[in-house]
């Protein structure tokens, strides 16, 4: 069986599955249940300077698919609303009871050197393995000059990271907000500040829905709502891209990454690892189904690795980075055509109407005298967009078949139709 152990910022973990700083890691009771269930580590819910914040009643809104499944949660909860000392004593207790599990202390403060350093030292003294800087919370705390108010300013990201590095001698994780135009600016700033690793993404600023009876955004607090932090499966594509950007940019390459964002199962986990993540953080999926989901994350990832012959996480970590390129580096001569398997087709017509109304009118629909419906791809019109294969409800019914070609790999900058075409040789 594959070894799921991993190392990030010099911290060893029995597996890459940590719970992110959030309601599930708020106190001793939850954290020991998580460790008992098999989670490799937790990032404790963000600690601030006393007096503790006060949270409101009604805190979550959700985004659902048509069958009622939740694909995203929006929250307006703030950081830990319990006294700092209570949290620190419980962290000490958990460290003692579960010595083989990782605990990271998450923190935030106003942009004040003394505040950051004093709090970091108190947390470090509780015995945590590392400190994570919460620079991402997009609601409430940012109105007080914390969270994303800091994370959106690269200079402040660098400054706070440096303060904490100077204050403590344990690893420092800088947690990044996605609510910015370019994740690389913040990642570079964290690196400059001396972060051992970056954690991303924090929640996406959002209004998840509007209650059309109350005429207010959800979740509603006495008739009014506010924007909150969006997380869960729906944000995974955003997180994957931001992780990949950091993994492949020259300036940030090699920066260790604790990946967060819609990781619900082993496959999501493997995808983030393939894009360079050293370890993973999960929250929403646990909030929806409980800590037990880690069982299949461990078993599924391990099975996948065994099937592929990967003995350790490092064996496949970052393997997809080299294949993640800019559009300008794609092969313009590559061509695929959709191929519908008539034996598998159940004649629903979804491929036809998708192509006919919104794409390239490349799927012919015929009904024979016996009423048998048939759908056939017109190769001359098919551009290989994949839409039909995606909307087809039958597994493996529509295959995208590459067209055999002896044409060379030609990118857009080299393409004959590009008016700004560069000479491939002289441009080297």
């Amino acid at each position: 069986m594959a070894d799921l152990g991993c190392v990030i910022a010099g911290i060893e973990s029995i597996n890459p599955f940590w719970l992110a700083s959030a309601p599930p890691t708020d106190k001793h009771y939850n954290v020991v249940r998580a460790f008992d269930a098999g989670w490799g580590g937790v990032v404790w819910k963000t600690l601030g300077i006393d007096p503790p914040v006060v949270n409101v009643s009604s805190r979550y809104g959700v985004h659902q698919n048509t069958s009622g499944g939740i694909i995203g949660i929006n929250n307006i909860e703030l950081i830990s609303d319990r006294p700092l000392e209570t949290n620190l004593r419980e962290i000490e207790q958990c460290r003692k009871e579960w010595p083989d599990r990782v605990i990271i202390g998450s923190m935030m403060a106003e942009i004040d050197e003394q505040a950051w350093k004093e709090l970091a030292i108190k947390i470090a003294n509780s015995g945590v393995h590392g400190i994570e800087l919460n620079l991402g919370c997009p609601h409430g705390m940012c109105e007080r000059g914390m969270g994303s108010a800091i994370g959106q300013v690269p200079e402040m990201v660098e400054q706070t990271t440096r303060w904490v590095r100077e204050a403590v001698d344990i690893p420092v994780f800088t947690k990044l907000t996605p609510n910015i135009t370019n994740i690389l600016w913040a990642a570079e700033a964290a690196k400059q500040g001396g972060a051992h690793a970056v954690s991303l993404i924090n929640t996406v600023n959002s209004i998840v829905s509007v209650d059309l009876d109350e005429m207010a955004p959800n979740p509603i607090v006495d008739g009014k709502g506010t924007h909150g932090g969006y997380c869960g499966a729906a944000v995974k594509p955003i997180a994957l891209n931001m992780v990949a950007e950091i993994a492949r940019a020259t300036e940030t390459r090699g920066l260790e990454i604790s990946a967060i964002g819609g990781i619900e199962n082993w496959r999501d986990a493997a995808e983030f690892i393939a894009l360079g993540a050293n370890a993973l953080q999960v929250c929403t999926a646990a909030m929806l189904y409980g800590f037990r989901i880690v069982d299949d994350m461990i078993d599924g990832l391990s099975t996948f690795m065994d099937q592929k012959g990967y003995r350790s996480i490092e064996d496949f970590r970052g393997k997809a980075i080299a294949n993640t390129v800019n559009w300008n580096e794609l092969n313009m001569n590559f061509d695929t055509k959709a191929l519908i398997d008539p034996d598998k087709c159940i004649e629903c017509g979804r491929c036809h109407i998708a192509c006919e109304d919104t794409s390239h009118q490349a799927i012919e629909f015929k009904v024979n005298e016996a009423g048998k419906r048939s759908f056939t791809v017109v190769d001359e019109d098919c551009v290989g967009c994949n839409l039909c294969a995606h909307v087809c409800p039958v597994p493996d019914c529509i295959e995208m078949v590459p067209v055999a070609t002896d044409k060379p790999y030609v990118t857009w900058p080299e393409h004959p139709l590009n008016p700004l075409k560069t000479d491939p040789i002289s441009s080297q």
Binding site: T66, S67, K344, E347, C348, R350, R373
Partner: protein, 451 residues
């Protein structure tokens, strides 16, 4: 209790409440959770085969999509715009041979979408919400249409004609409207007086008057209707029943299955309906099944359904045949009645074995008896031709053209009484709807000619 209540084979221990429970909804309505799950199964096919399989062409993928988007009222309007009695069809349609058989999932060996139950979910929701009728009458045309028969075809025609701005008077022979919806469908398909509720809903369009106790050929004359109205729609169903053609067919205990079904429908407390302990039902259609299953639900001891051919030849759908088996009905195939035994009341029936000989059904000469205190005949219905003097008849039914017009000018016909009638509620509803459009066209062009 029946006279033979001392009979050991009877299930006389069953209480009235047990029997009432037996007549509960055959298919429980979907709750909101189930409806979401069932709707989510639909693929929203393009040019969907289920639409084509529905005689009334309900846009099924659209209404299911509307359920999915929580626009249940819109879903109901989508259904009712094509089929104003979509509530009855959702309960009584043999969906397994119509829309659900056409569902593309069948091609993938996957269970079809539960279209009938979803349709019921949507229509029931709209009817329970009450409020204004979902459709508006067109501007008054000043035309007055007589509809003969307040069954599915007649009421469907009346509603659509009302939408088109005409005034309608419906003449009904019985004391209540609904036709077979009220009198002919099995009780467990139409619980809670649904047929009457639906008629009340349908009449919400306005412009429709129903007169009861008017029977064509008796106290209602076609000539008078032709004189007094601008057009006539005849939808009288099939009033007569086929006979076995045996001696002692009028013996006590030998009845028409449709009369038994009607009695059950018109009795609130089903336990009040007495039936013997040895029942024979003769026939292979859905009426035979309805009668046999309901006899079992009344706790009759032995119920034997006898059909002269094999199971595949039965006009009852495979689902209905299975329903009979599940309810303990014994099937006796390849046998035809040869003699009714008993002096005043039937005591048994002699059957002769049958087989196919040179492509034709033939008796083998071998006979057997089945003890019976009740024999129900369900061997088909026929037009009461006596009441239809002047009509061209084809195949024992009223002959109509493609636009539902008969040989008599201004007289249209539809439902079970016409040649194309398929003995399906949903087809009768479509007939009524299409006939209303044909009548509208007739009245409009007539006006043009006259003006």
């Amino acid at each position: 209790m029946p006279a033979d209540s001392g009979n050991k084979s009877s299930s006389c221990g069953a209480s009235a409440s047990d029997i009432a429970a037996n007549f509960d909804d055959l298919h429980k309505p979907l709750n909101a959770l189930q409806a979401v799950g069932a709707a989510d199964h639909c693929l929203y096919c393009y040019d969907a085969p289920c639409i084509q399989a529905c005689p009334t062409s309900i846009d099924i993928p659209t209404f299911i999509h509307q359920i999915r988007t929580d626009n249940v009222m819109g879903a109901a309007r989508t259904i009712l715009s094509e089929n104003i009695m979509g509530g009855t069809c959702a309960r009584a349609c043999p969906t397994e041979v119509l829309c659900e058989q056409a569902c593309v999932y069948n091609l993938g060996d996957e269970a079809p979408v539960e279209i009938g139950l979803l349709q019921r979910f949507a229509v029931d929701h709209l009817m329970e919400q009450g409020g204004a009728h979902p459709f508006e009458r067109g501007a008054e045309t000043g035309k007055h249409i007589a509809v003969v028969g307040a069954g599915p075809a007649g009421l469907s025609c009346a509603h659509r004609a009302a939408m088109l701005g005409h005034k309608i008077t419906v003449f009904e022979a019985k004391a209540k409207p609904g036709g077979l919806n009220e009198y002919g469908l099995a009780a467990y398909k139409m619980v809670d007086d649904f047929a009457q509720k639906e008629v009340e809903f349908l009449l919400g369009i306005g412009g429709i008057e129903i007169k009861y106790g008017h029977t064509l050929g008796e106290n209602l004359r076609l000539q008078n209707l032709q004189q007094d109205f601008d057009a006539v729609f005849v939808s009288i169903g099939l009033g007569g029943t086929n006979k076995l053609g045996l001696d002692r067919e009028n013996n006590g205990g030998v009845i028409d299955a449709i009369d038994f079904i009607e009695t059950l429908r018109q009795t609130d407390n089903k336990a009040d309906v007495t039936i013997g302990q040895n029942i024979i039902v003769i026939g292979g259609g859905n009426t035979a099944i309805d009668a046999a299953v309901q006899a079992k639900k009344l706790n009759a001891g032995n119920v034997t359904l006898v059909y002269r051919r094999g199971e595949s030849a039965m006009s009852a759908t495979p689902y209905e045949v299975e329903l009979a088996r599940k309810n303990g009905v014994m099937l006796e195939l390849w046998a035809k009645p040869a003699a009714i035994i008993g002096d005043d009341r039937v005591t048994s029936v002699t059957f002769e074995r049958t087989r196919m000989l040179n492509g034709k059904l033939a008796g083998t000469g071998e006979t057997f008896d089945i003890v019976a205190d009740t024999v129900m005949k369900a061997i088909g219905q026929q037009l009461g031709i006596a009441s239809l003097k002047g009509f061209e008849i084809a195949g024992g039914k009223v002959a109509v053209t493609a636009d539902y017009s008969t040989n008599l000018s201004g007289v249209f016909a539809g439902g079970d009484c016409i040649a194309t009638g398929e003995d399906l509620t949903v087809q009768a509803i479509e007939d009524g709807k299409q006939a209303a459009h044909a009548i509208d066209k007739f009245l409009t062009s007539e006006g043009t000619h006259n003006g």
